[in-house]
């Protein structure tokens, strides 16, 4: 945490998606004074229509699949239909002879590009169904697809493992032993459990689920002589540039990556995809631009997932409801590859507890590589932890909300330092108030009963769950602000807007600083050629990372402009401020319009440069949130309908509250899908997925979406960064599923321990409840 030198570049630790990494950061030459909670701001903090809303709804916004270049070819891939094995024959002669076919590439025709565990791209060793084996470029997509069908291929099928089939899993047949087990412990968990008067243990399972971004993955690539131009549906233009340059063995200065509009990513578009590399190689081979857009099936097979996970949680508490111990063990089926994050993290952080042990076992399986998905690992962990919390609350006969109130953390227990602000309590109280939550009195079960006629057919329940997420953002992130002769301004930054509204939020920040109306500021992003570096749109980091960079760049530009205005007004520059399109001398009536100053300067160029400074080192920046759910469970069908979700989340200053709330809506809807419908179906024996389309893979429909009441606990956080923001993109998906599951538990008196909460599982639980005469069902 301490700086290694005192110069401009210092080595320090930074947080990326909750993990710490050593990095060099650049200290800013000057940092604007933080916008505190009382700062009077005109634009930052108010709802504004998305700058690209009209373009998107009228269809003029161009996504990657809308790109069409002169002479463009279309690519299609031959993908292995088997989960594991070897390609024993691959003959492309017939395919090459088909009309329109310009190139067919197999592993033999391309340079060695290390891909999965060192296996080359287009390897003949198959690790998962859908793995690319060969690619074709042809004059039309149809011709390319026909050529793929004509490739002669034979496979020798190997043994496979698709998921966590037995429990507990020690070793999956045919795959390497658990490649890694992560173990973190504080205190003495064994002893604390032994000494706890109330202990619960339960095992929870969550399925593999898919991102289902509306825009499929794909690239249009033109390798033109010494340059490679890539239009890509990506969450990270700079990351794609770096990875692609490395794969292709060319300099980064020869690669340009563009992503003007992105139709969602949710973590599945974080890296350079094989389709991008292959499109580049096909373009090189043909000398023509190549468009390679995956179809929904390919996306389901080869663009990542949230991994299937089994979690066993033991909690111990004192009689007064104070948590004594958390023992959390998880088994995670990554897929053919993936990164290690940890469902245990939330168990170590969300509630105050001295004795915590988390053990996570990661496995490789024969399905496509896992990728981050909105709040990776936390969503899984929260379901297990928050379900177990309700189980323990019931054991203790303490109201679940009150139980959480008694276990609020008072600091970051892992780093032993305070949070910049700890909003879990306020979020909890807000949800309690909005839901009219009042603890049940003994024997008080009427709340759940929802009588239809004489019979108890439908019961209601309510549940809550909470969330924590590292949300400080951080360096490096850069921005330029250029002021034009006519008094308009342009922001350039190498981030991207995957639908979250970053473009609008960043424009609001720049316009705020420059005192300009929003329509005089334009933001260019998603282009490595015209924009300076910014990180991926991930980890809920964008506003908190790029926002301060944009503000600093705008301040830098303004400073220069004020110097010119000082000349015009004959007032020292430090007495001038920009406000409502004018430069005003403070304390006087003298002012000049913004355009007057820029016209005065003529073609003199004013460019402001800004970047994100390091995070505070003595506090932790995290976003908290709580959600409450009300559900109805049909006792005769097992169908669960969510009636209402109340959500309170903390995000520091909400630059655009409307966009912030739409993040809540999106996260909650996705979380509802996770709770009730979504799962990747896989046949164990055949090792192939069975629901690779949006018909069989069930995302929520409009009719499933309940009343969603959102509440932003929005207080500027000047100690986090000088714009005062915290991240909000991922947090809202975290508590939704456990809140719904807890509401179902409340309704029927027995927990369904596996997601999604299908009719079959709920019916089975109801049966169990009736047998055990538990809860309202037993009262009958």
């Amino acid at each position: 945490m301490t700086a290694a030198t005192t110069g401009r570049f210092v080595t320090t630790t930074v947080e990326v998606e909750g993990r710490e990494e050593i990095a060099v950061v650049e200290l800013p030459a000057f940092e604007p004074l933080p916008w505190g909670p009382r700062e009077r701001l005109n634009l930052a903090g108010k709802a504004a229509e998305r700058l690209d809303a009209l373009a998107k709804v009228t269809g003029t916004a161009r996504y990657t699949s809308d790109i069409s270049l002169p002479g463009m070819l279309f690519a299609a891939a031959l993908r292995a239909p088997i989960p594991s094995g070897r390609v024993t024959l691959l003959d492309t002669t017939a395919a090459k002879r088909l009309p329109g076919v310009q190139a067919v590439l197999t592993g033999r025709d391309i340079p060695l590009i290390p891909w999965l565990h060192g296996e080359p791209l287009l390897s003949s060793r198959v690790r998962y169904p859908g793995q690319p084996v060969a690619v074709v470029a042809a004059e039309s997509l149809r011709q390319a697809q026909l050529a793929v069908e004509r490739i002669k291929v034979r496979y020798r099928v190997g043994k496979h493992v698709v998921g966590l089939q037995q429990f507990p899993v020690r070793r999956l047949p045919g795959m390497p032993a658990p490649p890694f087990t992560e173990r973190v412990e504080r205190g003495d968990v064994r002893r604390a459990i032994k000494q706890s008067p109330a202990v619960v243990t339960q095992t929870y399972r969550v399925p593999a689920v898919l991102h289902q971004a509306l825009e499929p993955h794909g690239s249009v690539v033109f390798w033109d002589g010494g340059r490679v131009v890539v239009y890509d549906s990506t969450q990270g233009v700079y990351r794609v540039r770096r990875e692609l340059a490395e794969y292709l063995g060319i300099g980064e200065h020869r690669v340009r990556v563009v992503a003007e509009h992105v139709g969602g990513g949710f973590g599945s578009k974080n890296n350079c995809g094989s389709y991008t590399v292959l499109a580049a190689l096909l373009s090189k081979a043909t000398g023509r631009p190549v468009k390679f857009i995956l179809d929904r099936r390919e996306v389901c097979l080869d663009c990542g997932h949230r991994p299937e996970t089994i979690m066993r949680v033991t909690l111990g508490a004192a009689r007064d409801g104070v948590l004594q111990a958390i023992d959390f063990e998880a088994w995670i089926a990554l897929g053919a590859d993936g990164w290690v994050g940890g469902p245990g993290q939330i168990a170590r952080q969300l509630y105050r507890c001295e004795n915590v042990r988390t053990v996570e076992h990661y496995f490789y399986t024969n399905v496509g590589p896992m990728s981050s998905m909105r709040a990776p690992y936390h969503v899984e962990g929260a379901f297990a932890l928050e379900s177990a919390m309700d189980l323990l609350a019931r054991r203790l006969r303490i109201d679940p909300l009150e139980f959480r109130r008694r276990n609020l953390p008072d600091e970051d227990q892992e780093k032993k330092r305070p949070y910049v602000s700890l909003m879990l309590g306020p979020c909890l109280e807000e949800v309690s108030k909005r839901m009219g939550w009042r603890p049940d009195r003994p024997g008080d079960t009427d709340r759940r009963r929802f009588l239809t006629g004489r019979e108890l057919r439908v019961v209601r329940g309510r549940g809550i769950a909470a969330q924590i997420w590292p949300s400080g953002g951080g360096p490096p992130a850069y921005a330029f602000v250029r002021i034009n002769r006519d008094g308009t301004a342009e922001v350039a930054t190498g981030t991207q807007d995957m639908g979250t509204g970053s473009r609008t939020v960043l424009a609001q920040i720049a316009a705020e600083v420059l005192g300009l109306p929003l329509d005089r500021v334009r933001v260019t992003l998603g282009d490595t050629e015209s924009c300076p570096y910014a990180n991926n749109s991930w980890g809920s980091m964008t506003t908190a990372s790029v926002g301060p960079a944009v503000r600093m760049a705008a301040e830098d530009a303004l400073r220069q402009l004020l110097e010119a205005a000082a000349d015009l007004l004959n007032v020292p520059a430090d007495k001038l401020v920009a406000r409502r399109g004018r430069i005003v001398a403070r304390g006087t009536r003298r002012s000049v319009s913004f355009e007057k100053v820029t016209e005065h300067l003529g073609d003199i160029v004013i460019v402001g440069r800004g970047h994100r400074g390091p995070n505070p080192t003595t506090v932790t920046v995290a976003s908290f949130g709580v959600q409450g759910a009300e559900v109805e469970v049909d006792l005769e069908t097992g169908v669960v309908r969510v009636l209402r979700i109340v959500a309170a989340h903390d995000c520091g200053r909400a630059i655009n509250p409307e966009l912030a709330e739409s993040q809540l809506h999106g996260g909650i809807i996705q979380g509802l899908g996770y709770a009730l419908f979504e799962r990747r179906l896989q046949d164990r024996r055949l090792g192939v997925p069975l629901n690779c389309g949006l018909h069989e893979y069930k995302v929520p429909t409009l009719a499933d979406i309940p009343a969603i009441e959102t509440r932003l606990i929005s207080v500027a956080e000047p100690a986090a960064n000088h714009v005062g923001v915290k991240g909000l993109g991922e947090p809202p998906i975290i508590p939704t599923a456990p809140a719904i599951a807890n509401a179902v538990f409340d309704a029927i008196g027995v927990q369904v321990t596996e997601l999604p909460l299908t009719a079959a599982r709920v019916l089975a639980a109801i049966k169990k409840a009736r047998r055990r005469k538990k809860g309202v069902l037993g009262v009958r």
Binding site: V639, V688, A759
Partner: protein, 328 residues
């Protein structure tokens, strides 16, 4: 797919005449086009019936029942005032199909002839339905499979309207390749996999559904279509039930969906008579009867490894629906 012809038929006679092997009827295309795209059917000619004059007509009278052209859209059936008044179970079943966009295009004839939704079959995995020699679903994820009438294929029939029409004792008018017409009851229209594996109906090559007729006998009688789905919209039935009461002899015709490879008609002879006396209905006796009927209805059902919930679900649904008539 090599080449695919397209013909716009101007009459059912003409259409039937074109149905040599390799030709397929195209109505709304909501099922056929996805099947084509997934390579599950490979016709050489599509015979489009949507433009045939009168093919989409719907006429309903209390005396004459309903006559519905095979190409009538589900939306139009669901919204037809006559259907809604006299055959509400059918209107409800049509309305419960998929999404509004689908119903605006899907036809009744196409709906009755749609192919099963088995995950394995639709994923292109070789099985009995696709000419293979096993049923991978039976040995794999079987939670959506049949609890009645299954084997060797266990995929359930997906249609909602077929269930209502079965309870309404509908008739199907079929045009044959030689121009002649035959009529069959909906009950005889469907078959089981043990009879035939390549399709779910008894339509022979060269036969086409021209019209669906609902007899007047049930016009305006008490009736209901109830469908249980996981999602609130755009979902096939986990289990569905149509209950239609005969007007004179007070007895229900009950059909189930989502439980068998065909829409499943309960054998009324095996069900006990409802407790109706001249003095009206005794709610307790009625309730006992509903429970008994639900049990009888599922007699002979058989659970595979994980579809047993459907038995309970079907019983509950039958009981619940019958209870709606507990009081007159």
């Amino acid at each position: 797919m090599d080449s695919l012809g397209f013909h716009r038929a101007s009459s059912f006679e003409e259409a039937a005449g074109l149905l040599h092997s390799g030709a397929a009827v195209l109505a709304g295309g909501t099922d056929l086009v996805p099947l084509l795209k997934d390579g599950l059917v490979k016709p050489s000619l599509l015979v489009f019936i949507g433009d045939i004059p009168g093919a989409a007509s719907i006429s309903v009278t209390r005396r004459g029942g309903a006559r519905i052209g095979a190409a009538a859209k589900l939306t139009d059936i669901a919204n037809n005032p006559g259907v809604r008044r006299l055959f509400p179970a059918l209107a409800e079943a049509c309305r419960s199909v998929g999404t509004l966009q689908i119903r605006n295009v899907a036809t009744l004839g196409g709906n009755l002839c749609q192919r099963p939704r088995c995950w394995y079959y639709r994923s292109g995995i070789a099985c009995f339905k696709s000419g293979g020699e096993s049923c991978p679903a039976r040995d794999g994820l079987d939670e959506a499979l049949a609890i009645l009438g299954g084997g060797p294929c266990w995929a359930v029939h997906p249609s909602d309207p077929a269930v209502a029409l079965l309870a309404l004792d509908a008739k199907i008018t079929i045009r044959r390749a030689d121009g002649s017409v035959r009529e069959t009851s909906l009950a005889d229209f469907y078959c089981l996999p043990s009879d035939r594996l390549d399709r779910e109906t008894r339509l022979d090559a060269g036969e086409i559904v021209e019209r669906i007729t609902v007899p007047a006998r049930y016009a305006g009688s008490p009736q209901r279509y109830a469908k249980v789905t996981q999602r609130a919209a755009w979902d096939f039935a986990l289990v569905s039930a149509a209950v239609v009461w005969e007007k004179r002899r007070f007895r229900p015709r009950i059909a189930l969906g989502g439980v068998a490879p065909r829409p499943w008609l309960l054998d009324t002879a095996r069900l006990s008579d409802p407790p109706v006396s001249r003095r009206g209905r005794d709610p307790t006796a009625w309730e006992l009867w509903a429970i008994r009927t639900a049990e009888q209805a599922l007699r002979g059902s058989r659970a595979l490894s994980s579809n047993g919930y459907k038995i309970e679900l079907a019983k509950n649904l039958i009981r619940r629906t019958l209870l709606e008539w507990r009081r007159v």
